[in-house]
């Protein structure tokens, strides 16, 4: 049945498999975006002693479909005072970095000789940070294009916040790069197989980077905090603080353009979760049943994808839970935390990690 694949040239095969992987990753991401929204609404309802949307389908599982229909059927209104080009461009730019970044996330080991990553880049992490920093343009443009006060304030806030936290985010990853000695995300995952060395063998703590040493744990903590700020989630959701900004940068938007901002936010959240899973929580590995080695069989490959998605899901639940647990930081506290806590800590972390590695060598 699949004989014709072997008759293709290697470059043709590459195009074919890449296209399949792109389609699969894109559809899974979009599916997850839709259902994270539902997860958020249900979870927040439960935390607030409510039940949440449970009418559309069993347990409200068809709610995302209803939301999508609503978003598409609403009038797409363009206010007269907006700057049209940027107004149209902004929602797309918010959405794009998340979609582009999915390309380098290894979401599984191998299925039938194909590695489960769309582009196994040698500069994986640099690529990610490059595109994540483009994400800020979407929000800034939205705030600028709207040509009115509140969106503008939201845009200004997000500029300052995202640029500040990008620095600590980037710096926090450097100890990991020092340890692994490679920027390729697949190599970083391979580095995390097995169980940790500093515990006796009968205590099987996975050899994930978050558990390996205090420095890597600190790196994770800083990355996590910065990830919250980068995705504009509570406790750092100042760009869309409803109480202060009547909604923030997306005030002048309606219909599917408005929905795109939220899809972008949730896609970014999924991407941040996937990055944390890959960098600190062993990606698709699990140190039992030999699941920390690339799979040789189809069930093994599928199990790896399932493990990866389960880990991402755990992070998403955490993202959502935090939003309904804590109040928002004040603006000066946000800047204080970013510039005077995270950045010095991350810098110190780099130096300490380098010293430890130097002494060990």
């Amino acid at each position: 049945m699949f004989d014709w694949i072997d008759s293709l040239s290697p470059s043709q095969q590459f195009v074919l498999f890449s296209a399949i992987k792109v389609a699969a990753a894109f559809s899974v991401l979009m599916f997850m975006v839709a259902y994270v929204v539902l997860l958020e609404r249900r979870l927040c309802a439960f935390i607030q002693d409510r039940r949440g949307p449970n009418r559309a389908g069993p347990f409200g599982l068809l709610q995302p479909a209803a939301d999508a229909v609503k978003a598409f059927l609403k009038e797409d209104f363009t206010p007269a005072h907006v700057r049209k080009v940027f107004y149209w461009l902004a929602p797309a730019i918010v959405m794009m970095p998340a979609l582009i970044n999915v390309a380098i996330i290894p979401f599984g080991s191998k299925i039938g000789g194909q590695s489960m990553v769309i582009a196994d880049l040698n500069v994986g992490i640099l690529y990610t940070f490059g595109f994540v920093s483009l994400g800020v343009y979407g929000i800034i443009l939205a705030g600028y294009a709207a040509n009115s006060k509140y969106p503008f304030l939201g845009g200004i806030r997000s500029t300052a916040q995202m640029i500040s936290y990008e620095i600590s985010m980037g710096l926090s990853v450097i100890p990991i790069l020092l340890l692994v000695g490679n920027l390729n995300l697949s190599e970083i995952i391979r580095y995390q197989s097995g169980t940790v060395g500093w515990l006796p063998a009968w205590l099987p703590l996975p050899n994930w980077l978050v558990f390996q040493s205090p420095m890597t744990f600190l790196a994770f903590a800083i990355f996590l905090g910065a990830a919250f700020a980068e995705t504009n989630r509570t406790p750092f959701d100042l760009p869309e603080a409803e109480q202060e900004l009547a909604g923030g940068y997306n005030v002048e938007y309606s219909s599917i353009k408005f929905a795109l901002f939220f899809m972008g936010e949730y896609a970014n959240m999924i991407l941040a979760s996937a990055m944390m899973v890959t960098l600190f929580f062993g990606g698709w590995t699990l140190p039992v049943f030999g699941l920390d080695q690339p799979a040789t069989t189809l069930p093994g490959g599928l199990a790896h994808i399932a493990i990866f998605l389960a880990k991402v899901f755990a992070f998403l639940v955490m993202f959502v839970w935090v939003r309904w647990m804590w109040p928002r930081f004040r603006y000066d506290q946000l800047m204080d935390l970013g510039w005077r806590r995270f950045i010095p800590l991350a810098l110190a972390n780099i130096v300490v990690t380098a010293l430890v590695l130097w002494l060990k060598a």
């Binding site: 309802a45 439960f46 935390i47 002693d49 409510r50 039940r51 804590w326």
Partner: protein
């Protein structure tokens, strides 16, 4: 008033106690019983004395209690009630002690403000505000309830005797001296 604020300890400044506290509270609420009522499936218990939709009632023998006196029509503040009296050659009353019976009795539920004046003014205990609060219809015409519909919805007189104290007063007048009620 100046509120003295204790400086935070290092442990507190790590945000960790706040995190743990917040997590405990949210987890408790996450697991607790939900307050949302699943409305169409479960409904709240309507309390006694609730003023819902006004319906006409029949007496124990199944006869119409309304005698078409039109007091409710006159007292109705939003003019929701329209009564068509039978006239000299109209339909006869269906019970011995009544002179008249309404030929048609309509309540526009879109106009009704559920004030209860009709129930209060009725000398025959024929109209009561019941416990229905959710009235729906596919059009305005459907929301004008006619006599059959009102009687069907009202059912039999539920034993509420709002003129009981008047009756007792009148009975007390028979004997002398009058006993205070």
């Amino acid at each position: 008033m100046i509120v003295p604020r204790k400086p935070l300890s290092l442990w507190e400044r790590l945000y960790l106690p706040a995190m743990i506290g917040g997590f405990k509270v949210t987890l408790r609420h996450f697991l607790s019983k939900k307050v949302t009522m699943q409305y169409p499936e479960e409904k709240w218990v309507v309390p006694e004395g609730y003023r819902g939709a006004p319906y006409l009632v029949r007496d124990q023998d199944g006869n119409t209690k309304c005698v078409s006196c039109q007091l409710c029509e006159f007292v109705c503040p939003p003019k929701a009630i329209t009564i068509t009296p039978p006239g000299p050659a109209g339909i006869p009353a269906d019970r011995p002690n009544a002179e008249k019976i309404p030929q048609e009795f309509e309540i526009n539920m879109l106009r009704c403000i559920f004030c209860g004046f009709c129930q209060e003014v009725c000398p025959e205990e024929a109209i009561f505000l019941m416990k229905d609060y959710s009235l729906t219809g596919a059009g305005r015409a459907e929301m004008i309830y006619n006599k059959e519909k009102l009687l069907a919805l009202g059912g039999t007189h539920a034993g509420i005797r709002k003129w009981k104290h008047k009756l007792e007063e009148a009975q007390a007048q028979e004997s002398f001296p009058v006993k205070p009620s």
